[in-house]
């Protein structure tokens, strides 16, 4: 990585001056490292990183061409292509930036209320949503208002994972509590002033709430779905079409950054770099908690080893699995965001582009998975495939997602607020 020699297989980028957007979170690290370690420059790119205040801004600015590309939530390129928010714009991703990285935290008062109802479960971690259900039922019986939980964007992995965890414990995310959106850097403050009872957010904001003695982590997102997709590099589909060599150079620089990041000895340096006010703007020791492979559920607890909390490279973390895209799409149907019949498989194929990833990774002599999809949920431990080690992919309720039949999977989700009949989802390519 320290070699100054330019990689000899790079085609000259069609466009060398780029602006890439990010949101202040620990997992903007690949962009920051590619910049700070000169990896973009090594691939002939002159990149400006632009810190953005909201996911809506990221989406709008990429769509409008003000940003060449950006760190996006794994579900965002799908939602934007479908026009689920305010903007409809064909978007693609050919690179996953990381796996895992979020957690669910509640206020101390809320945790104490749960503990009073179930003293035996006190201190256990991770906590199942069944215990939340007890609290909700007790509040309901007493005529009190339901809890308020926050996540970061309607079309976010956080929304889908929080809902998944709630539903697995029998909690109806739309009836039993109120879900609201609060931007990540404002979560801790919202918890402090009592505007919300809990939240699902990426690091370092859970660690910050714990360190300030304001809250307690109930579960990590890794415990909800082991090695779930989290952030991706998103670009406009027509941008990718117009600047293929540039796109490939960005992907290669970011792949190298993620490899650098998964060297444990580099993690502390990364935390220092990220702490800068231009990037995340949180204390380095707070960012270092999850980044150096440890995790603390509550203030005063000893940090527990959690090496997979932030995965940037290993387990083929950069591969844009179409099965990830399909699962995210099923959740958009499950919770009523997708209201028109669409071809799920067709959308997953257009938006998630493992073909482009393979071209870039191939030039770096990185082994790629042979298939574009895998079954999700069948592995409770790391496993081997195509000569590579893939991560565990277990769901908290032990269910299995077969990407060959998303309709059957949807019909199997008992708790849902679908706005369309899954049978309508069969498109021309609805089945293989």
């Amino acid at each position: 990585m320290t070699s100054a020699e330019p990689p000899n297989r790079d085609a000259v980028p069609e466009k060398s001056r780029l602006t890439l957007g990010f949101v202040p979170l620990t997992d903007c690290a690949p962009l920051v490292i590619a910049q700070e370690q000169g990896l973009f420059a090594r691939h002939g790119l002159d990149v400006t990183l632009s810190r953005e205040a909201s996911w809506a801004n990221i989406r709008d600015k990429v769509a409008a061409g003000l940003l060449d590309g950006a760190q996006m939530l794994a579900s965002m390129p799908l939602a934007t292509t479908l026009g689920l928010g305010e903007v409809q714009q064909a978007t693609v991703t050919a690179l996953s930036l990381d796996l895992n990285g979020n957690a669910i935290t509640v206020s101390n008062a809320f945790y104490d209320e749960m503990a009073t109802l179930d003293p035996d479960g006190s201190g256990e971690a991770p906590v199942a949503a069944d215990r939340l259900k007890q609290l909700i039922d007790a509040r309901h019986a007493a005529g009190r208002t339901p809890p308020v939980f926050a996540m970061v964007f309607p079309y976010s992995t956080h929304n889908y994972l929080l809902r998944y965890w709630l539903a697995a414990g029998g909690v109806d995310p739309d009836r039993d509590l109120r879900l609201v959106v609060i931007p990540p850097p404002q979560m801790v403050e919202a918890l402090r002033i009592g505007a919300i009872d809990g939240f699902c957010v990426g690091e370092p904001w859970n660690a910050a709430a714990v360190a300030e003695g304001l809250g307690r982590v109930l579960t990590t997102s890794h415990d909800i779905w082991n090695n779930h997709p989290e952030k991706v590099l998103g670009v406009n589909a027509d941008w990718a079409e117009r600047y293929p060599a540039t796109h490939k150079a960005v992907i290669k620089a970011l792949i190298e950054a993620t490899r650098w990041l998964d060297e444990p000895s580099n993690r502390r340096t990364a935390a220092e770099l990220l702490s800068h006010p231009d990037y995340v703007g949180a204390p380095a020791e707070i960012i270092a908690m999850s980044m150096t492979g440890s995790y603390r559920y509550a203030a005063g607890d000893a940090p527990l080893p959690m090496p997979d909390f932030n995965v940037f490279s290993r387990y083929a973390a950069n591969f844009p699995w179409r099965s990830h895209a399909l699962w995210l799409l099923t959740q958009m149907v499950r919770w009523g965001q997708i209201r028109e019949p669409i071809d799920l498989r067709g959308i997953a194929h257009t938006v998630y582009r493992p073909d482009l990833y393979r071209q870039a990774a191939g030039e770096l002599a990185i082994v790629c998975p042979a298939d574009d999809e895998k079954s999700e949920g069948a592995h409770a431990a790391p496993w081997q495939r195509d000569g590579m080690t893939l991560g565990a992919d277990r769901f908290v309720d032990d269910s299995v997602f077969d990407p060959a039949d998303p309709v059957a999977y949807l019909l199997g989700c008992e708790l849902h607020h679908r706005k369309l009949d899954p049978a309508e989802l069969f498109g021309p390519r609805g089945r293989p």
Binding site: A53, S54, W55, A56, N57, D60, K61, A63, A64, G65, L66, G83, G85, E86, V87, Q88, Q89, V152, F153, P154, V180, V181, I182, P183, P185, Q186, M187, E189, A190, I193, A195, Q337, D421
Partner: protein, 191 residues
């Protein structure tokens, strides 16, 4: 008179705006710098329209409010102080209630508020019309299915089947489509 809420990181700028809106006969029900309590303020103030700085993190909160209150969304006017706004306006779906204005001067904002509200109402009317059309189409499909069952089971003609549905509906004070839906559910079929 409109109830207006302003979200801006720059209190001096929003004070000028508030004055301009008040002079024009509107009422500014809330003015905030967006520090995590936006949701509560919107809930309490119940504005007719929200004017927000594009660089405010609270944009994501407002977007979700719109998703949740889909049937009763509020127009949102976004502004930015550079040329970005001009480009983004082109990207944002026409008719959806986000309007980006370039800069934010006293003279510019009043006509923009008026135009934004007018376009928003127009778009809402169109959307309602579209929704009504969809319901009508769905109803027709259900009535056709129910007629098919009656034709098959009772050996009726199409006219007789329809007349039977209509008579049942009238007797029970229901819509024909509702009678058809009940018939289908009795047959274990989905409408």
């Amino acid at each position: 008179m409109l109830r207006i809420m302003i979200v801006d990181q720059d209190p001096a700028r929003s004070a000028v705006l508030e004055q301009a809106l008040t002079d024009a006969g509107h009422r500014v029900v809330a003015r905030t710098v967006d520090e995590g309590s936006l949701l509560q303020i919107v809930t309490d103030a119940q504005p007719d329209v929200v004017i927000i700085d594009m660089e405010a993190p609270g944009r994501d909160t407002l977007e979700d409010l719109r998703e949740v209150s889909r049937d009763n969304p509020k127009p949102i006017i976004m502004f930015s102080n550079n040329r970005d706004g001009e480009y983004i306006r082109q990207a944002v779906q026409a008719g959806v209630s986000a309007y980006v204005v370039d800069g934010l001067s006293k003279e510019r904002i009043l006509p923009i508020v008026d135009v934004a509200i007018a376009r928003f109402r127009e778009f809402q009317a169109l959307r309602r019309e579209l929704a009504d059309t969809k319901v009508q189409l769905a109803d027709r499909k259900i009535v056709d299915k129910a007629k098919g069952i009656l034709i098959q089971r009772k050996g009726l003609t199409e006219e007789q089947a329809y007349a039977l549905l209509r008579k049942t509906a009238m007797n029970r004070g229901l819509r024909i489509a509702d009678v058809a839906r009940t018939l289908l559910s009795l047959e274990g079929m989905e409408g």
